[in-house]
Symmetry: C2
Subunit: 543 residues, 2 copies
């Protein structure tokens, strides 16, 4: 619409959005369409009806709406003034609603039916989008509506319950959430276990049965390790709580991110209350971090973690740009990449041997009495604690086991909501040998359930396990990586991840990527082996 | 679509955009719809059929798309990494295309036909949107398409022509642009002069006849003033070219912006190559500026200028939020607000008497030999020059006269494109007594024509004239403002602008706002009187 608002200004030129549109949108549309068009040309147009291009154009439009929503969300978390909140919620709602309408419409369905893919990528595209489409259409809109209403109430209830430390205030909400998740699972359908339908949302192809196999094995072998470490003399990590000037932290994180291969010409790092990674295209993938002037690990390992997510998104095959395939294949595989750079690289001795000079230069006072060895020890302190997000590399997975078991039992109906606190605390005692002082530090600590999100937690542990499987496969192919990590030569490792993981986007499931690159399926043993070696040395104890 | 991309992360929670949508969009939609609903209640629902609400919901959706495009554009100008350019163009195209489709659809037309407004605001809404709708539908889409193609070629041609300083390379493009603008004008229709149709796009209700009357009067009386000033001894403004550390400039501009009433809780200032103002809602209006460490006025007056635009947008009646009425009414009125704060306030002696201590504190070295009076003189140096965007307060309008006359003659057909350079240079000599050394500093200096934008230039001069008419009316109502400006008490002046200009949004045209608040229509005399007084004193010459 004319009028001076929503405007763009070039030099002192102020033009309306509607005019801008009239001036430029068609040129832009043509630019946007060119890529698919030229691709088709290469791939012998005769072999492919136009419908696949119409499907792609439609999907690209939907992708653009999701990307725009992601930009608005990034802005909200980083720079938006407080006054903008209300309008931003409306704007995000409109973008997501339009994207959903476009995607779930009959038109998309018939374009899918008519699509005759002429290339392997197009074949994968049609297959994956068909699965997404069928899933999206299986959930009745009234269920979506009730889900949205109940979760917004539940989030309030959860916040109150957590601040009052009173589970009973959250219990009724959790009851409703579980019932809705069951209804959702029944609507979506599942091979064997109701929980399969929920896991599928975050980890395509993963089943409850396989999770039980892998997690069961992991738990039995991990608990004794944690007990043995708890018996060993603790590591002194007080150095981490000294003064670390924020500007120096910013500089160091940016240096390290560039070193490991996060491409700042196709991304940037900003500050937000809760660190996250977001992608607007393969060539614009941004990370955020949070600086604590009195605690070193918060920003440093947070940045490495997000950069791991970010490099995954930056590494997707450009041929997938603008399609739903240009995306991490699962949350577990995504977490494998963030954990790989945060833990296997960032918490390794060679890494600190190589980076120590930079650390000293950035924080001469805080680190004056440190050696690479002592600092490496400090960032690897293991201590059972109640809060998952503060858990160390070793105990973290046990927090996940516990949640997985409670969630499956809730969804099966073999655990009553009222019994959750006791079940939680008992498991904490079994696995970690500690009992939460209260429910706020126990079963009320996570936002997930109040947001209606069940089936998500396992992906954190899957990421941890897969990160070691992938690392071992990279070492098998590239030879020992310690020297390279020490030298700061992360190119070969990143190239290996690009080749075997990143470039595929959603063309392959996490399971298939793991099989193809490591030769085996999900397995807890490699991770356990890594923990035994590393922490056996750190704690001078046979684990 | 599922998949980990386009995601939002809360704490360490990573959720897909599609899931986010399922979790929250309905709640958000309800929040979005609530406002109009409750309003209706107040305004006696019986009196209004639901269709007005359906119209408003549709318009709100369109507004959300424009706002989202504005956020993406702001991001592109401020923070986007270079890699993001290509995808960003596609994303903007999609948003603008969807907004245009939604707005120009038959559905919008029938909602307009069926709308029975029950309040004055709704009546204005239907009237204004009907005008926008009819205009938008009058331009055939093939013309929009040709316009877009030709202008993108023309912009390239213009850039080449300007860098090679060879008008002949641009001439054919300009010929096409003029022909398309004529075709556009004929499609849109006009009361009297073809040029009316083009002006209407930027300055609703303004006509070529009135522009000729006002500008003719202005030109005849201004040229002798400029000649008299050129004869007077020049002002020494070398102080402006000293070292002004950027951080201190940032601090000072933010302090002054907050002082004059730009609300940082509903906006922010960032840096971009070309300063601009953009609005995502009445409560999120952002400005940008550009810092030059060796030239004071660039950022300082640029910030004041943009804040003037920004305060206009921040001052719109909240009852108009989410509608097309929540917008500056015209580019001329918008410019009146930016010029008022930049020139009438920011370049006044009382302003510098009051701000001088802050200036000294921010730049002790650069300003050590200055007095309020000497600095005020420096920022008001008048000197005829070839480049419009560098022109001073007095000569600026003559650059506009010239462009207005050439544009009208081009559109009438009484000036051939090939004769533009000579016509330009002759007019420069008549009005400013200088002749451009080349076309790059002459008729090739502006981006407007190459972007297909004719009819826009007059709004700059309208803003200058209106700014003084509004200032005088404010003084008439509030009494002399010099003391308040000196004290830094800008509240009354801003409140007056809010009451008489800002709050109306697009409910009233610029002409009606001017009539209602000043008691007269557009008139050059007040501005000429202001120039005579101010510059007569500065140059100690009777003007």
């Amino acid at each position: 619409m004319p009028g001076a608002n929503d405007r763009t200004r070039t030099d002192d030129l102020l033009i309306t959005n509607e005019l801008l549109y009239q001036l430029s949108y068609i040129g832009r549309q043509e630019a946007a369409l060119e890529t698919p068009r030229s691709k088709n040309a290469e791939n012998n147009p005769e072999s492919r009806p136009v419908s696949i291009d119409r499907l792609k154009t439609r999907l690209a439009r939907i992708k653009d709406l999701h990307a725009a929503a992601a930009v608005l969300d990034w802005d909200q978390e980083t720079y938006m003034p407080s006054g903008g909140t209300e309008a931003r919620a409306r704007q995000l709602a409109t973008l997501q609603e339009l994207a959903h309408e476009l995607f779930t419409s009959d038109e998309t369905g018939s374009l899918l039916d008519g699509a005759r893919p002429g290339t392997e990528i197009d074949a994968d595209l049609v297959r994956v989008v068909r699965e997404d489409f069928d899933r999206a259409r299986r959930v009745p809109s009234d269920l979506v509506a009730r889900f949205a209403r109940e979760t917004s109430l539940a989030r309030e209830g959860w916040q109150k319950a957590r601040s009052d430390n009173d589970f009973r205030r959250f219990a009724p909400h959790l009851g409703t959430i579980v019932a809705l998740c069951i209804e959702r699972a029944e609507a979506l359908g599942y091979p064997e276990h109701r929980y399969d339908a929920l896991v599928e949302e975050y980890e395509k192809g993963m089943t409850t049965a396989e999770l039980r196999r892998v997690f069961g094995d992991l738990r039995t072998r991990l608990v004794p390790i944690v007990q043995a470490m708890a018996a060993a003399p603790p590591i002194d990590d007080r150095v981490l709580f000294r003064a670390y000037p924020v500007d120096a932290q910013r500089g160091l994180t940016e240096t390290i991110l560039a070193q490991i291969g996060y491409d700042f010409s196709r991304g940037r790092q900003d500050v937000s209350a809760h660190p996250f990674t977001t992608s607007f295209s393969i060539d614009d993938v941004r990370v955020t971090t949070r600086f604590d002037g009195r605690f070193f690990p918060s920003a440093f390992f947070g940045s490495l973690h997000e950069a791991g997510h970010g490099m995954y998104e930056q590494g997707i095959d450009r041929a997938l740009e603008g399609t739903p395939l240009a995306d991490g294949t699962s949350l577990g595989m995504h977490e494998s990449q963030s954990r790989l750079w945060e833990n296997l690289v960032g918490r390794s001795l060679p890494f600190w041997e190589g980076r120590f000079a930079d650390l000293r230069a950035a924080f001469p006072e805080a680190t004056s009495d440190q050696t690479p060895q002592s600092f490496w020890r400090a960032v690897n302190r293991v201590q059972p604690s109640c809060i998952r997000v503060e858990a160390d590399e070793v105990t973290y997975n046990l927090h996940i086991m516990l949640r997985f078991e409670l969630e499956t039992r809730l969804v099966e109906g073999s655990l009553a909501v009222k019994d959750v606190p006791e079940a939680w605390n008992a498991a904490m005692e079994d696995y970690l040998g500690i009992r939460p002082p209260n429910d706020a530090d126990g079963c009320l600590q996570d936002i997930h359930w109040s947001s209606g999100i069940l089936g998500y937690f396992p992906t954190y542990a899957l990421g941890n396990l897969a990160s070691v499987q992938l690392w071992n496969a990279a070492v098998r192919d590239l030879g020992d990586l310690d020297d390279a990590v020490r030298r700061g030569d992360f190119g070969p490792l990143l190239a290996w991840m690009r080749e075997h993981v990143h470039r595929w986007g959603r063309r392959r499931t996490a399971g298939r990527i793991l099989e193809a690159s490591t030769g085996s399926g999900l397995d807890a043993s490699p991770w356990l082996g890594y923990v035994r070696r590393k922490y056996g040395e750190l704690y001078a104890t046979a684990l």
